[in-house]
Structure formats: C-alpha cells, structure tokens
Symmetry: D2
C-alpha cells in the first residue's frame, strides 16, 4: 500500500542480514550499527546508547507539538538455530527466535515512508530497544532518560504471533499481558538432630504448610474472573537425612492482570506466611519484588482505527484471553498512554512454529503489513 | 489364704446378687443399699451419700493416726447383657460389663477379715465410689468433702483386666493411665455465596489447615518417648453446597501421660490454631478443658510388697505400656499418694472377653486374690 | 418509541398489581392467571401449564416458518419486603426482590405492540417461565415439551441489573453466567475410640487433606484465564470428642464458564479425592452433578442490532466480566441458539439497591426500554 | 574389687595415652596397635583386622563350649578438643569425645583379671570394634566373618552416660536404642513455565502434601505408646522462580523401637506418598533403607545379676525411656542374644558435660566399675 515492491524486497533482505547477526540482550551492538546505518541512509536523526544499546530516532513535520513513539526490539535469544533458512544465524547458540529482526525491519520500512512521503503534523519517535527478552530494556531506556529527553505523548508496540492467522491483529483495552512479581520466603525454624525432634522447629514442615496455604489466595481473596498465577517454583532446605535444618527457602512468581489483585496477593503472601510460620513456632522473612508491570492498553482508539485501515474487519480480534506472559513494554505504558498489539503470522497450510523454538523464523510478508499499520497509526494520531 | 471357703462362697453369691441389679452412674442406690447392709452385718461404720451415692466405711485399730484408703466402684454400664449367666442383669439395657460388682465384693470380703481378724495399727477406709464410667464419681466424692472429712494418707485402687493371665498383677510407678483433655475450636471466617468466594473467608479451609497442623505438635514439640494422642473426632461447618459458612467447629481430645507434655500440648493447640486462622484471615475461639488427670502412681513400694505376698513373682508384671484410657481414680491420686494396679482375669483355655462387651462377666475366682491383696496391703502399711 | 403514554402507565400499574401478589417457584398461579387475563385481553393465543405454571403465548404473522422466543420469569423470593412502596407485597415473607414482575410486564407490553402494530414475517413466542430462582423452571418447561410442541429457532432473555446505570445494556458472546456443578464426597475411614487411634482411619484427617488438595485443580489443571470457582461449603463428621468417626462428608460447588474446564474439574475432583483417600488408607464415594449449564450466548448479532436501535452506543457495554452466578436460561441455550442480556437500572443520584434485598423494587421506567428492545429484536430477526 | 590400686593407676594412664591419639572411624590403626601391645603383654590371643581395624581377643578356660563376647569401641570423633586436660588430643580436629578410650581401657583391665585370676569354664571374647560413630563398624566386623570365625553365644555392650549419676547402671529388656531407617522420595511432576501452570504438574505442591501426610502415620497407624520419630530433614526442587520443575526430592529418617512399628511405617511411607502423588497427577520413586536395627536387649538376666554384684540396688535403674539415637551394637544383637547397658558418669558437684562436646572427657573412675561389671558378667555366665 505504502511501500514499493523494491522497498519490500530491500527490507526483506535487510531482515535477513539482521537474522544472521543475532545478539543477546544489551549486546546488540552490531544490530544497532545496522539500524543506525539505515537511519543515516534515510537522513533520519537519532540518538544511540539509551539503555546501553538502544536507539531513539525521530521525524518531525509541521508545527504541532504532539508526538507519538513506535517501538521495535533488537535482541535475540540464547537458542541454537535449526530453522534451515539460508540466512540462518552465524553466531552459534544465539538466534532471532522471537522475530525482533522483523520488528526492527518493519519499523525502519515505516520510517522511510513517514520521513519521505507521509504528510503529518507532529513528531514521530522510532524506538529500537535492547533486551526485551528478560532484560527489561524498556526500563533501562527510561532510566537513561527516555521520557526526560524526548516529549512522548503516546507509545505503541507490536509483536508477531505465530499462533494466530497471518495478517490478523489482536487488540484489546486493559491488561493484555500480566505483571510478574517474585517472592522469596525464608522460613526460619530451629535445627536439631533428628533423634531430638522436640528440640527442633522443622522449617520444611512449615514450608509445606505455607506452600499449600498460598493456594488460598486464589480462592479466598481474588475475584474468580481476575486471571492470575501464583506458583512456587523452588524449594530448598536441609543438607542430610538426619539433621532437621534451621531454614527452608521457597521461591516463586505471581502473574496478574489487574493492579488491585496484585496488591491483594502481595499483602496476602506476607500475611499467610507470617501467620502460619508464627503459629507453628517459627518465623519468615519475605522478599517481594515487582519485576514487570501489567501491560495495560490505556487507549486503543487510534490503534484500532489504524488497524481497520490496514486489514479487513474479519482480521481483527478484540475478544481474546490476555497472555500470562510478561512484556517490558509495560514499563513504557506505565509512563504514557498507548497500546500494544499482536499481529498473527501463521499462513494457511504452513505448520505453526511457536516463538522461542529452534525452527522459528519471522514471516517476511508481515513486514509490509506491520509497516502499513505504523504508517496508518501516524496518520490517525498526527494528521 | 485369709478367707474361709464358706466366706468365698458367700461373697461369690453376693457378687451375683449385685450383678443382677446393675445401676448407672450416680443411680447406684440399690447397689449401695446392699453394700450398706453388708457393712451393717459386719459392724463396720460408714457414711453414705458422698458424691450422691458413694459410701465411705472405716475400721480403726490401735492408736496410730496413720490411715489408708482402699477403693472399689459401684456403677454399671448402659449395655444389654448377653453373658448367658444365670444371675444376669434384671435391668434391660444395663449391665455390670466392667466388673465393678466384683471390685465391690472383693473389698467387702477384705473388710470382713480386716475388721474381724487382722491386727494392725491405724485406720483403713473403704471407699465405694459411684460413677467410675465417665461420670468422674471420684471427683464428686472429693467435692463432697472426702479428704476434708476423713484423714486419708494414701489411697489404693485395683481393676480387673481380662487381657492379662488370671492372677497376674500389673504394677508400675508413674503415669499408668492417661489424662484426657478436650478441645473445641470454633473457626470464624466470613460467609458469602459461593459465587463470591473473594468476599468470604472460608472457615472450612482454615479448619482443614488446623487439623493438619495440630499433627505438628506430636513431632515438633513432644519428646518422642512421651506417649500421647491428639485426635480430632468431630468437625462441622456449613449447611448447604453453595453458601460458604461463617464458622466451622472442630472438636477432639488429648491423651497424655506426663504433665509437661500436657502443658505443651495445651499451649500449642492455642498457638497453632490462632496463628493459622489469623494468617488465613480468620480467627478462632479455643475451649480447652482438663477432663481427667493422669493416673499417676506416686509410690508403689507397699503395693508391690503386698502383691509379692499375694502371688508368685512370675505373676507380677512391672514393665508394660501404660494405657491411653482414663480413670477417675486419678482425681484421688492428685490429692494423696497411692497406687493403682491391674489384676489379670483371663484363665487359660478360656476365651478372652474384653471389658465393656455384652458377653463379659467378672471372674469370681478373683475375689479371693483381690481381697488377699487388700489385706496384705493393710498389713504392709499399718503394721 | 413504540408504546403510548397511556400504555406505559397501564403496564406500570399492571407491574404494581403483580408486585402485590408475589408467589414462590412453581406456585405462581395467581401471577399466571393475571398474565393469561392480559393475553386474553390482547387476543393472543397461549398454552398454560408447561413446567407446572409456565405459559407459552404466540403471535404469527406472514408465511415464514422462522420463529423466535422471548422469555420472562414469573416467580418471587422468600424474602420479607421492606421496600416501603405503596404497592408492596401482600404476602408476608414473599416478595418480588428480583424484578420478575417487571420482566413479565415488559414482555406483555412488547406483546401488545407486536400483536397489534408490528409488521413481521414469522412466529414470536412469549415464554413466561416459573421458578427461575433456584427451581430450574426452564428445565421443567423443556421436560414438559417446550421444544417439541413449539418450533423455536432462537431464544432471548433479559434481566435487570441494579449495579449498572439506567438504560445500559450488557451484551457479550460466549459464557456470560457460570455453570454450577455440585459435589458430595463421602470419606470412608474406620471408627475407633480416641484412645486407640491406631485402630482408626480418621476420615476427618483425610477430609482435611482433600479440602486442601482440591485447591490444586485451580492452579495445576486449569488455564489461568479460565474463570472458575471451586468451593467446599459444608463439612460434617463425627458426633463426639472421643470417638473417631467412620465417615466425614464434604460438599461444595463448582462454577465454571467453559465446558473444557468443567470436564477437567469433574475428573480431577474424582481423581484427587480417590488418590488421597486411598493413600491415607481410606476410600471415597463421590457424587458429582451438573446442576445448571453455562449460560452461553451463541449468537449475539441480532440482539446487538436490536440494542443499537434501542439505546445510544454509549449505553452498550460489550467488554465485561462474566458473572459467576447461574441462570436457568442456560437450559434453553443448550437447546437453541440465542442471547441473554442485562439491562442496567440504576438512576443517577439514586441509591443502588441490589437484587434479592428487602429494599429492592423494580425500576418502572425500564418497562418501556425493555419492551422496545423486544420489539426491535423481532424486527431484526423476522423482518 | 578385682583390680589392684597399681593396676587401676596403670589403666588410667593407658586411657590417657589413647586419649592423646584419637583416630576417626576405620582409621584406628595407632589405637589398635596399642591395644594389641597390651594383649601381647597379657599373653592374650587375638586376631586383628576384622572390619578393617577391629580386634577379636579371647581367653578360654575349662572344657565348656559356652562363650560370651564383651565389646568395646575404638574410634574418636571429628571434634576439636577443648577439655583442657593435660593428656588432650594431639591430633587437631579429632578427639575422644564419646569415651571410647575409656571403654577400650576398661575392657583390657577386665581382660587382665579374667586371663590371670578368674576361674570360669568357657570362652570369653573381647571385641574392640572400629567405627562406632556412624560407620557401622559392628556390621563391618560381621561382614568380615566375626560370627563365622568365632562361636559367640551371647554378646554384651556398655556405654558411659554423663547425664546419669556416677556408678549408676541403666538396664532394661527390649528396645533400648532406636533403629534408624532412611527414606528418599523423588516426586515426579511435569515441568512448565510458570505462565503455563496448567501444563505443569508441580512436584513442590505434591511434596508439600506428602510432607504433611507423612504425619498421619504417627497418629493413625502406630500405637501411641510406641515411641518413634518420622522426620523430613531435606527438601529440594526447582532452580529458579519462574520454571515449575519436573521433580522435587524429600529425604528424612525414621527412628523406631519395635519391629512391627518399623514395618508399618515402611509400608505407609510408600502407600501415602504413592497415593497422594498419583491423586495429584504425579508419581513417586521411594528409596527406603534400613540403616541401623533396633538395639534390642533380648536377655538381661545375667547382666542384671552382674550389675547387682557390682553396685548397690539404688544404683540400678530399670525403668527409663529408651533412647531415640542408634547404636551399631544392634547389628550384633540381631545375630546373638545379649544386652547393652549404660553406666552413669556424672559425679556430684561436677558439671554435666554431654557426649560429643568439646569439653568432654571420660571419667577415669569408671574404669574400675566397668571392669568389675565385665568380670562379674563372666562369672555369672561361665561359672
């Protein structure tokens, strides 16, 4: 629609180039260099180095002081590629298994049109962030002053999704990806030889009670329609069969889609573990950390219009279950309003290959659709 | 040894008479009347009516102010007799299924010899107590002034035991029958319709945690060699499938053989149920009652000597597991020193019929052995 | 829109008449008689007596064999009215606390217009069902042949909702009200006196383990985005403090919004309780009953159009959490496609009074809106 | 009584010599050499090397083929001595903190008298065993043919006990020290990312249920008077907060004083963990090992007589709680009858210093009492 066939071809090749040089979180130097070269080629201004390897580029037209930001991610994963494509990773044990090469490419393709052809009034920021995979690169960019240096009114993100049909957008108001909180509970008992159990407070016993009691949070304290996960994933106490240990540690995570549930869970984790440990003669130390916020779409109106200009109505899904995974785009959405959407990539007749698998490759034909969505979004917001 | 054949025959017949008129706890009026008639016949002084239907009789010789008490029990059980004996119960649904008719008889037989033949120096009290079966008749007699009216230095009890060989005594220092404590825990939650679980605090859930946590007392707080039982025997909460109730009650008993364990358990029952309930957002009310004390033999030396004068060494067992049942003789032993012994009743070749069974009947031949023991005991203590 | 002011006034008065004669489930004889009188007045054919006191009326126009059914409910609740209105219940302890008087009235008002004025092609069925409140009146009508006697292609339901603003419709595809399943688990242990715990299998202990283990279903077997409730609401075992009982019963309910979760839960309730009981030396008997199905809106397109013709876009909510309550309208939706919607009744500045409360009264001004929706629905479906 | 003052002085010095050269389990080479030198001095035959560093010596008199064995232990502990005695350990980090230097010495002292002075008829074996401290040296000697090479009818052991008054013997029939069994339960679930809990079977959850359910064994399956310990002392599962692991391991020990309880516990550990794991969708592998048998005194009659010849009646305790610790002497008692006794070492006015503490030193004055007991025992058995 907006891109010429030559441009489409160009950007597919560019994506293949990135695909061969995958880099792990905060080490995306080669990748960033390629992005900067493109921005130079397009005469687009940018700043490199926010969040270590992140890039912010911008195109300003007209005299409006309105602005939006479009975000792509740069990093790859510590996975050994087995996709079989010609342009496979040249770095052993690292691959673009999540399609960030594609996200980066489609944003550059959009940037070219926005810079060269699109009429609009305001500023468009193009964010190429590092470390989306568990590294909280978004947070790092914010801490490096993203929102201080640049006046960004709204921010938008997009991710490909191999489980949905090719060209289908998923968009919804509210929480679309869960927050993740981490807890560590150190249960403190009293050690003794196992022939003297009455001189011990067995922390493993207390831990077992707490593991079971944490289940009560789901059924007693949270609205049943509030999706959430409370998982204990690690437990460790004692060194040998006949010494009741002094301590036992449990560790786990909480995923939640609304803030009020998150607060309830946090306070209940403390209350339950404390109450039970004290009741059983021991004590606890609870570490509780908010790791990633909820990815909350606060305003989807412009994005929805842009999608409607991009694909047919039948390719728009607005009623779907949120994901219990987490996204560092949530840190951006804590600061400014915006919207995060998914773009289906599964072509009919082709096998579905999930993200983070060794066989995965980004679907090249999404580049045009994604770029078109970005361009339409700028039209909607800044015209 | 002390009794003539005629006397033995007389007392067997007397026992059969009592066996036909069994009376339940605190209603042993007919039985007491028969006992009083015998005491009258023997010219032994007595007082009737302590603990409603209890009798205290006494024989004093010499000028010593030393005194001992020997105790028998009067009451029968609400069990339908199927023993098949000629002199079976004439009262439907009530029977002497625990041999108290025998205990009473052997004490009267001893009283006759002690009154008529035995030389000793001091006072012997003969206690015929009501309501041994769950009615705490001993406690009732104490509350009616037993130890105020009568100066009793030591007290002795004896019970037949069908599981041990005929003529075998079991005697041991320390706790021989357990205390019994009762607890009721009312767990207070918050009621709500089951479609609104987050508005409820489910007391059944809390109760389940508490039931399991009470198990910790055994393994965490008590010396493993300290025999005890902590049992939840009743639970009740809720009225229908879709209303989470406000409250759930649990009820149970504790049996224990040493005071320090008893105190630990009592405090732990409170601590655990409170801690867990609070931790899970609810609360508890705990009722905890000492029902029967531990039956603690504080001095067995005279009793052991008396037994040695009564039976052969091979018929004396001093190393046996205490019983987890309770005895109201424990109330006497809380007040004065003494000793409670068992006397085996199972004759070789005869089927063992346990106490409290419909087929049970007291073994007549124990009358002589029991009476002999009582007489020997007076000889040991007061000569 | 469709009704004249006189008609509106007439139906308000009719609603007040019904309000004064509330009748409990399956006893709605007086109420049904009033409905029949109205149908007679309007010359509308009907059949009385399906599901004991239910009524099916019908209006046929044109030659199409297409048909839809519109449903109202007749029954009141065993609640003592304290609404303070002039036309309050004349039957002590019974009141229209759920607005069924209003539902019935608005359907009659719609029927008048549909009969007298509306041009359409097909058959409209008006269902006045008994026993919506826990009596499964819908099921009773089906069992009495509703779908055999009458060819009904689609069915529609509407309920007032005091928690939402006046005149606001809530409509959504899929599960909008939960199924309810009931389980009873009889835990079988072995009874013994509490002094002999080793001769018992304590079913209360097993029950406690099962109560806690049922919590695992939520976190281990169900997708976290699948809203559901698993509640134990009743537990009962034992009769006294010192007899460990033979059995302990637990009872509860399951609410679920998708069939696959329902099947998983059902099989897990069996598996978990069996496994744990056997592991602990006991056994279980599990009764598991599907009581109400999920209320699943299978096609909302016509209803949504009718709503759009009835109220402004801002008064339409399509993104809301489903209710964990149950509706017997679900039985109809198991048989034919259709849609169940809520109509907000809370006027600004007025205190919100929830359904099933003593102060509740149906909002008269909803009669016109509800009737308009029904009429628009017939226009959408049968024109 | 039997030893001269010079001999007593000699053996005290010998004990001090051993005390300075403590050696850990199975490395008692220097110690054994000293023992052999003494046996050579006394012209007593012996064999060295059973169980690596063990010694069996023997004295035969008369023509009876009756025989008894008396056992001492050789090994020291990995504890840094802080006793402050002149003859303290010369080996850093190793000390005789359990008095085995004294046990060895008193047996040699007895051997001298038995060899030189005592008249008896039969064979006396003197066993100096290695590795009593957790190394199961007794078992090693048996496996090296102790009972095959030597015809031993009965065996006797003695251990000093600082918690009891000096010169007091503790002797009792039956189990006096507990068996120890070890269990490892590998709980097998199914791993998944914590955002996908419904695709996991969380083994930590199952482990928690099992830890609590193992408590039921005590209260449901074992006679309350049967002392025992069931302790979980180690738990380990998972590696990080957001991956539900595949497996969780729990490990613990069981201590028990009677064989029937031991068998019940073993079968219940299997049954409970299997039942619960299966019920919750997982599985278990249970490793269960009998590590040390119960130390069961099968015949105490000769030992009791020997004690009565050694000390006053008031220094004999026959009614005491068994120890929940373990002893490898139990392996000997599995093969032949015998008796294990304790000898109190706490002198009035002296501070009690427990075994295995840095300040501990064997009480020299026990040498004569212990030797006297051994000599009296030979007199009782073989005269």
């Amino acid at each position: 629609m907006f891109l010429t066939n030559e441009q489409i071809e160009y950007y597919k090749n560019f994506r293949h180039k990135l695909h061969q040089i995958p880099e792990l979180a905060y080490n995306e130097k080669q990748t960033a260099k390629e992005v900067c070269k493109e921005l130079d080629r397009l005469n687009i201004d940018y700043e490199y180095g926010l969040g270590k390897t992140g890039i912010v580029a911008w195109v300003k037209k007209g005299n409006s002081n309105k602005s939006i930001a479009l975000r792509a991610d740069l990093d790859a994963l510590p996975i050994e590629e087995k996709s079989g494509v010609e342009y496979a990773s040249k770095t052993k044990g690292v691959m673009h298994a999540c399609g960030h090469d594609g996200h980066t490419t489609m944003l550059l393709a959009a940037a070219q049109y926005i810079k060269e052809k699109l009429e609009f009034n305001g500023t468009v920021y193009f964010i190429f962030q590092p470390a989306e995979e568990g590294g909280a690169g978004a947070k790092a960019m914010i801490e490096d002053g993203l929102f201080d240096k640049f006046k960004i009114d709204r921010i938008y993100g997009l991710h490909n999704r191999p489980t949905e049909p090719f060209g289908t957008f998923l968009i919804k108001e509210g929480g679309v990806m869960s927050a993740i909180d981490i807890f560590k509970i150190k249960i403190k008992g009293k050690s003794a030889h196992s022939s003297q159990p009455h001189n011990a407070i067995n922390p493993i016993l207390i831990a077992s009670h707490i593991v079971l009691a944490l289940k009560n949070i789901s059924s007693q304290s949270l609205n049943p329609t509030s999706a959430h996960v409370i998982s204990v994933a690690k437990i460790s106490g004692g060194t040998t069969f006949n010494i009741i240990p002094q301590e036992c540690d449990i560790e786990g995570s909480i995923r939640v889609l609304d803030k009020s549930s998150q607060e309830i869970i946090k306070s209940k984790v403390h209350e339950i573990s404390k109450g039970i440990a004290k009741g059983l003669g021991g004590d606890v130390e609870v570490d509780y950390e908010h790791k990633y916020p909820i990815t909350t779409n606060s305003d989807i109106s412009y994005a929805l219009k842009a999608i409607k200009s991009t694909v047919l109505a039948q390719n728009i899904i607005t009623n779907f279950n949120p994901s219990m995974g987490s996204e560092d785009f949530s840190f951006f959405l804590e600061k400014v309003p915006g919207c995060y959407v998914w773009l289906g990539s599964k072509k009919e007749g082709k096998k579905m290959i999930p993200l983070h698998s060794q066989e995965y490759d980004f679907e090249d034909d999404l580049i045009e659709i994604g770029a078109t969505y970005w361009i339409n979004l700028v039209k909607e917001e800044l015209s």
